[in-house]
């Protein structure tokens, strides 16, 4: 029963993660991305990546808040979709903005701090995606957990990359940065609470 419901939820999430692609296509065909859609398409890919990152990082607070630990099982799916959209974002930049010039991509990444941030975030996501299977999890043991804390670095690098890539201050990057900061702070708060339990909750056995 629970398994059936989980399957349905996963299917729904797959569709949800795919939907922006369809939306973008329709929007493009109707001219909604404007007279020259290149910049809009690249930004659309980047924003979708950030939205999926936010969703991925919301899974554990939600699972805890709703007392539904089984929700954790959708986290990998969302994380992989986040990576897929990150790849789409980079591909759009390479093909549409740089006309497919791979050397220009490399030299731009090395010379532009905001692109370097984005590239670092993408590399971390790549390593997480490659090790997202059970086999890697078993092979890497404790190191796997440490590696996958890398997603917190992505949650700092990615919105920073967005903030630096726009010409002047606009509210949108700050909204993404704020949401991700909130999700990170929630984790810091939880960890702090675990390391510093309230006196009565600690009990005679103390922690550990």
């Amino acid at each position: 029963m629970v398994l059936e419901r989980m399957k349905a939820i996963k299917l729904l999430l797959h569709l949800m993660c795919l939907a922006p692609l369809g939306w973008a296509w329709l929007h493009l065909v109707q001219g909604g991305f404007g007279a020259d859609p290149v910049k809009e398409l690249i930004h659309f890919g980047g924003r979708t990546t950030l939205q999926l990152l936010i969703l991925t990082l919301s899974v554990s607070p939600l699972a805890r808040g709703l007392h539904k630990p089984e929700l954790i099982r959708v986290r990998r799916l969302l994380g992989l979709w986040c990576f897929a959209w990150a790849c789409g974002h980079v591909t759009a930049y390479l093909l549409l903005e740089l006309a497919g010039d791979g050397w220009l991509l490399l030299s731009e990444i090395l010379r532009r701090p905001n692109l370097l941030l984005g590239a670092m975030a993408w590399l971390i996501l790549l390593s997480l995606a490659l090790t997202s299977n059970r086999w890697s999890q078993r092979r890497l043991g404790r190191a796997w957990q440490r590696l996958h804390w890398g997603v917190y670095a992505v949650a700092i690098l990615a919105p920073w990359h967005y903030l630096w890539s726009v010409k002047s201050l606009s509210p949108e990057p700050w909204i993404y940065a704020g949401l991700l900061a909130g999700l990170l702070l929630w984790r810091v708060w939880r960890r702090w609470r675990r390391l510093n339990p309230a006196p009565c909750a600690a009990g005679p056995a103390g922690r550990r």
Partner: protein
């Protein structure tokens, strides 16, 4: 006058069909439609929605003009619908499509321009008078945006030096300061920093007097044979083709001759990123991106992306490089 009004109304009525064909051209240009392919009902619904927005008020009248051979550069033009639909004009929002949507209500007639400051004969003229007094020329210029994209646009205008000669600058005048209309009721970006990107308004720009007097420096009243559209800076804008696009200030109401270098909007907003001179220079990068090459917004579609090397002074080095002899262009970026 009544005749002009009727003309406007007639044009407003015929626009939708023209726009319909324009949209089809855009889609074809994007490579999303095969020749002769019919649009899906869904796409047609979207197209119909769009009728109500951009070009409804586009009653741009044709302007008589000469075509001096020296300025008919043999470059592939950026299609008119891209020139009309892809704009940086933060007074009307920060999205590239925002000005085309938001600027249509801008009242551009009557419009007067004041030229004063260090001049012997200060002057206020309406745009209509400017059009009568100066013969318009079509000039095909490259436009290079500081964001590393470029267009080729057939402007209609006259040389700024003709106007400057009329007001007789005093010997103490060394710079020319330009100012855009300040009217937060009409320009939502001036009323809200959320829309206007936090720039200080009115938008101001400036040139050295010798730059302003250079024959390439144009005061434009039109493009593609017709009046300027509001999103392109109607009714009157500057065009300085060897400088980044933000120097070419739109919707000008005042030109002042001054003794010292005037403040300019973008260099005030981010002095380390945008300088007073802002000459197109592939050797001096923007702190956050390279200026060595540019994406061409031309006739090609999404499947035909072109990038080309950026030229010193945007290809006008032969004409203007001498203005900057002895200057370190890295320092005076």
């Amino acid at each position: 006058m009544a005749l002009t009004d009727r003309d406007h109304r007639l044009r407003a009525q015929v626009t939708p069909e023209a726009l319909f064909h324009d949209r089809r051209r855009v889609l074809k240009a994007l490579g999303l439609l095969g020749a002769g392919a019919s649009l899906s009902p869904l796409a047609q619904a979207g197209l119909l929605d769009l009728f109500s927005t951009p070009a409804k008020a586009d009653g741009r009248l044709p302007l008589p003009h000469a075509k001096p051979a020296a300025y008919q550069a043999a470059l592939p033009l950026t299609p008119e619908e891209k020139v009309l639909g892809y704009n940086n004009y933060y007074e009307f929002g920060m999205g590239k499509g925002d000005p085309a949507k938001q600027a249509q209500g801008l009242v551009t007639e009557p419009w007067s321009l004041t030229i004063d400051g260090l001049v012997a004969k200060p002057l206020t003229l309406t745009v209509a008078e400017l059009g009568q007094r100066f013969a318009l020329e079509e000039r095909i210029y490259r436009l290079r945006c500081v964001e590393a994209w470029s267009m080729v646009i057939p402007w209609l205008g006259f040389e700024l030096n003709q106007l400057l000669a009329l007001v007789e600058p005093l010997p103490t005048a060394r710079y020319v300061a330009f100012e855009t209309l300040y009217d937060p009721k009409q320009m939502p970006g001036q009323a809200s920093s959320r829309i206007g990107g936090g720039l200080v308004y009115p938008y101001v720009e400036g040139l050295r007097l010798d730059e302003a007097r250079h024959p390439l420096t144009l005061l434009a009243l039109g493009l593609y044979g017709k009046q300027l559209a509001p999103q392109n800076g109607a009714p009157l804008r500057l065009v300085v083709p060897w400088k980044y696009g933000f120097k070419s200030i739109k919707a000008i109401v005042r030109i002042r001759l001054v003794a010292s270098q005037p403040p300019t909007t973008w260099s005030q907003a981010a002095p380390n990123e945008y300088g007073f001179y802002a000459n197109v220079n592939p050797a001096v990068d923007h702190p956050r991106w390279s200026q060595a090459s540019e994406r061409v917004i031309g006739p090609g579609g999404l499947l035909d992306i072109r990038r080309q090397p950026t030229l010193p002074f945007n290809g006008y080095a032969d004409e203007v490089a001498e203005l900057y002899q002895g200057m370190d262009l890295r320092q005076w970026f």
